[in-house]
Amino acid sequence: MIRKALCLFALLVAACGTSFAQQAPKTQLKVGQVAPDFTLNDTEGKPVKLSDFRGKKNVVLAFYVLAFTGG
């Protein structure tokens, strides 16, 4: 049976550079805190704002650096 993860709206943020070989930076954010709001462009150049999902959908926000490599 397919899980209803359909309520979730996944965002993938592609950035550059990762430092797995050394100590990767650790987030200062904690579970229970409000996620910092942001607006970033999607693949069509349209702005996507995190707070636009407030009250509508849960969000999985994945920072996937070096998306074009096996890194």
Partner: protein, 82 residues
Amino acid sequence: MDSFAANRRFAQDIGVTFPLLSDWHRTVVKDYGLLDEKSGYSARATFVIDKEGIIKHIEEGRTAIDPTGAYQACNVFEHKKS
């Protein structure tokens, strides 16, 4: 750094069904504490955020690429709804 245009090609290649965003100016990785300012590199991480904008789960480092933790956190939402 990946532009939205480069991401578009990537999204087409792998057939993503969700928004693929470009943090061109590294502002968001900085806000989320994932940017190493000295090297300019950033870390991988996954955050599960509920409808109220509250962080419910954080996966960092090498395990961030594994969706298991986020998937389990999502299941908690489902159980709470039912």
